[in-house]
Amino acid sequence: MPEEKREIVIPSQFLGDARKDKAGRGTFIENGKIYSERLGILSKKSEYINVVPLKGRYDPIEEDFVIGIVEEALASSWLVDINAPYPALLHVNEVPWDVEFGDTEKYLNHGDSIMAKVLQVDVSKKLQITLNDRNLYKIKGGHIIYVEPSKVPRIIGRKGSMISLLKKYTRCRIFVGQNGRIWIDGDDEGIARVLYAIRKIEDEALSFGLTNRMETFLKKDAKDVR
């Protein structure tokens, strides 16, 4: 990672010339000039200028793994809140169980949490999710916490380095949804440590060399490391 200073940009801030650079995510072009469209961190990758949002709703992308909370059971589907602007549809064909018509409530009901995958996002932003993938199921037990969706990449770390670190030193089971919901299960002490660590990552999300610092931090009071 290049050791240069990160810069905060606000909407309408001038970022560059459209003839020299390419407008990436979080930007727009007007009269040949690139401006930021939202509050975020400026990042330049190759010739693209991107703005990584600091805050805001989760913007669903196909194939993302998310944690959803069931809002409503319909006759042949469920409506699931995945922290996007819209509720996501989970059809009975997309669950591993054999559900009879009208029997949806037996399997998932209001308030249940599920790990799911975003199946489809169409032009009018209608969302479909699925449970038919590896390791996707209804959540029983454990804790769900919430972080800003923009901080999720830092909690996972590059190629999952940060998350495997957390798992290694706290012996908890952790599932990070791209929508900012994180599921943690393990013994009480372990959960407390994961919570503390995640809040620390959140606070220092924008600093450099975070993974190394987290490792020393977690090593300090780790008991038995697998």
């Binding site: 200073k5 990160r6 905060i8 606000i10 909407p11 309408s12 979080g26 727009f28 007007e30 401006y35 469209e37 939202r38 509050l39 975020g40 949002p53 600091l54 805050k55 805001g56 709703r57 602007p85 819209y86 509720p87 032009v123 009018s124 932003k125 606070d203 220092e204 999300a205 924008l206 600093s207």
Partner: protein, 242 residues
Amino acid sequence: MKSEVKLIDNDGKRLDGRKPDELRKIKIEAGVLHRADGSCYLEWGGNKILAAVYGPREAIPRHTQDPLKAIVNARYNMAAFSVEDRKRPGPDRRSREISKVISEALEKIVLTEKFPRATIDVNIEVLDAEAGTRCAGLTAAGVALADAGIPMKDIPVACAAGKIEGQIVLDLGKEEDNLGDADLPVAIAPRNGEILLLQMDGHLTLEEFDRTLDMAINGCHIVSDLQKKAIMEKYQSVLEVE
């Protein structure tokens, strides 16, 4: 209108000691509410305003949805204790009008095509009022929208100018608004100077109107800098951890 009170003294100073082209004192703070997606607290002279943004979220009831873009739903409300005589709570003709014009001004700058079928709710709560609440409310809403991380083309800003005792002045105070000749609230997108809101109360000649508009737009740019500073101040701190 001839009034008993002298709004401008012999030195050219106004009632509160301001020069004709001087703004009242403005304080802006972003991100003050935890439950809202974005928020802003603003003090503008004697005005105290809280703005909160929720969404984008699915528009309910369903018939209000637009299948192609989001709707921006601003709600301007004055607290019962915001004025000298108690204001009867609830929406009235005045606040519904202001809600409508602010909604339309904000809709112009938010990138609504990104969120079809959704709504962005903006609540503007006037806690204390002293003339120019619609400008202050819109300014606060702009900061709250940016704070909520909503994609938009610009941060909207508003400021008023008017005429008192035959003279064009910036940002009318309470007595000036009540006893003056004209009031012209203006909201702009400061980057390209596009006008988002323009209303007028009272009478101005065409030449006076042009001068008043120019003065109000100049005021907008000053307030815009304060807005940007407030947002930067709130988020600069996230960079300084180490």
